[in-house]
């Protein structure tokens, strides 16, 4: 859409974008500021926009003197695993909802909605018992399975709406030409849903990246601890090491940012291809 627009309107647009940017980034700036401020200045310079002194000491401590790198690796494994498995399963389910009419469809959709409607706290005790009975406490696999189940309903609805947006004629034409439905799905529909798959991957990844409650309950060995649980270790009973905690937080943002920048390409793809035509 490249419509003619008055300079005033586009100025207003840029202003609005600047406000959004400020709102989105200011808390993150504050996080970074605290992480860079030396301990003794955190309170005395609490409300200064720019600290008079900055230090990388907090980062150094976090990376070299705490098991943070291992928390990171665990979180990365869990989040990537969850995102990949969830997206794959949800794409199948979303496709079924979008393209088929079958018995039990309403029931299944209804049950999927129900899974979103109660505090997950409610099922934490039963899940703990199940995982313990299977001897899978402290394993990253159990976290991936649990997170995948939690994220499937939303991911499925999301994928369904993306499939709904793709005309059926496309795959029907391919099926006329002798493709099976699965081939049509893979060769015709799949490339068109790349933005949808990208968005789904991104959502699931970040959800898994920041989940705390179940990671806290199902994992208590240091080797398989994920990052959010590790972050909690900075809140000890006697003192909270804010600088280190914020430094760890800043580091934790890096994978999410990289992941987001990566899926940008797919989110943007639809727009650019449309613009070339228009």
């Amino acid at each position: 859409m490249t419509t003619r627009s008055s300079p005033l309107l586009s100025a207003a647009r840029y202003l609005a974008l600047a406000l959004y940017l400020g709102f989105a980034l200011f808390p993150l700036y504050w996080l970074l500021k605290i992480a860079l401020t030396p301990d003794q200045l955190i309170y005395t310079e609490g409300t200064r926009m720019l600290p008079t002194l900055t230090t990388l000491e907090n980062f150094r401590t976090v990376v070299f003197q705490t098991p943070f790198l291992s928390y990171f690796r665990n979180s990365l494994v869990v989040s990537l695993g969850t995102a990949a498995v969830t997206t794959l399963i949800a794409a199948g389910a979303g496709y079924a909802f979008s393209r088929f009419r079958f018995r039990g469809k309403k029931l299944i959709i209804g049950l999927m909605l129900v899974t979103q409607m109660f505090p997950l706290l409610m099922i934490i005790a039963p899940i703990y018992k199940m995982v313990a009975a299977l001897g899978m406490l402290n394993s990253l696999t159990s976290l991936i399975i649990v997170y995948t189940a939690f994220n499937i309903p939303f991911a499925t609805f999301l994928m369904q709406s993306f499939f709904d947006g793709i005309p059926r004629d496309l795959e029907e034409a391919a099926m006329m030409d002798g493709c099976t439905r699965f081939q049509a799905l893979r060769k015709v529909v799949f490339p068109l849903t790349l933005p949808g798959l990208g968005a789904t991957l991104g959502f699931v990844f970040t959800a898994a990246w920041s989940e705390l409650l179940f990671a806290l309950m199902l994992i208590n060995s240091n080797e398989t601890m994920t990052f959010p649980v590790g972050l909690l270790t900075f809140v000890s009973k006697f003192s909270v090491d804010w600088g280190q905690m914020m430094a760890a937080g800043v580091l934790a943002l890096i994978p999410s940012c990289i992941f987001f920048i990566f899926i940008q390409r797919y989110l943007v793809q639809g727009l650019t291809s449309g613009a070339v035509k228009g």
Binding site: W30, A96, I127
Partner: protein, 311 residues
């Protein structure tokens, strides 16, 4: 040697029937079964177990009284003033958060759905809050609202909104705005991303045709954009409402439900009951009540959706 010839089914018959049967009864489940199996095992079965807790007394601090108690927990709930306060707070928290997130998210999606310089980088940056772990965003916002270590109270005082730079998280009348602000910050990208993706799937020629017919920008928006977005809006608003009603993390870290229960919502009340008072039976009853309310809400919304969306 001629063993493989006898087949049990007449070939003509199956060939006529099987594609239909395959299409309507089996094929959808090939795509669906992994999702269904996983959800059933990990969520629905535990849910049933969880609901059964609400009919039992499972207070760890009172081990002599364990066992089935029928509707006792629910009767206690009915006469529990804190429950009704939390219900009111849940409503306020959910409506305010969803409205602001949706409005601002839609605005952002529309702004991003056109070309300008540095679009990619701007988009990556405004979406960033979604990637911040909840626990961390709650702490950051708690800092921002603290007059000793955060700037917001001073800004609000300078604007005349607050008489003096106090911590709004400590003021029962204003405390809820703290978690709401954090939640809006965190949730705008959700709506912006999903709506932007939906916007991008609207065929561009529709706008060209409308423009040739002399449609104004507002007409394009209400006649093309909104109807195309409607299915996505319906599903995201509904899910988001439900999530936010259940979303206690921000509140729990920022205010712990205080001051004086001013920010206690139902799901944070579930948390305090389960992990502070260790009363799992009563906590389950609160959660079931919340589940019931959300089911009613979803049923109403789905009815409305059926009227407007033709899926």
């Amino acid at each position: 040697m001629n063993v493989r010839t006898p087949t049990t089914v007449a070939p003509g018959e199956t060939r006529a029937r099987s594609p239909l049967y395959w299409r309507y009864a089996v094929e959808p489940f090939v795509y669906l079964s992994p999702a269904v199996i996983l959800i059933t095992l990990v969520m629905l079965v535990p849910l049933v177990v969880g609901i059964s807790y609400s009919f039992q007394s499972i207070a760890i601090l009172n081990p002599l009284k364990t066992g089935w108690v029928g509707f006792d927990n629910y009767a206690a709930l009915w006469s529990d003033g804190k429950f009704w306060t939390a219900l009111g707070n849940t409503l306020w928290w959910t409506v305010a958060s969803v409205t602001l997130q949706f409005g601002l998210g839609l605005g952002l999606a529309l702004l991003l759905n056109r070309h300008f310089h540095f679009r990619r980088i701007v988009q990556a940056l405004v979406f960033l809050p979604w990637a911040v772990p909840t626990f961390l965003s709650a702490l950051t916002w708690a800092w921002l609202f603290n007059p000793v270590i955060g700037p917001i109270p001073h800004w609000l005082a300078a604007l005349g909104i607050l008489a003096e730079p106090e911590n709004i998280l400590g003021d029962p009348d204003l405390a809820m705005w703290g978690p709401i602000a954090a939640n809006v910050w965190f949730g705008i990208p959700f709506f912006a991303i999903t709506l932007l993706a939906a916007l991008q799937s609207i065929p561009g020629d529709l706008y060209e045709a409308a423009e040739m017919d002399g449609a104004s920008a507002w007409q394009c928006f209400t006649k093309i954009t909104l109807p195309f977005l409607a299915p996505m809006i319906a599903i995201t608003v509904m899910l988001r409402t439900i999530w936010i009603a259940n979303f206690a993390d921000l509140i729990f870290v920022m205010t712990g439900g205080g001051p004086a229960n001013a920010t206690q919502i139902l799901s944070s009340y579930v948390f305090t009951t389960a992990f502070r008072k260790l009363d799992f039976g009563y906590a389950s009853a609160i959660a079931v009540a919340l589940l019931g309310l959300l089911l009613v809400y979803a049923a109403i919304l789905l009815k409305i959706r059926q009227k407007f969306v033709k899926i």
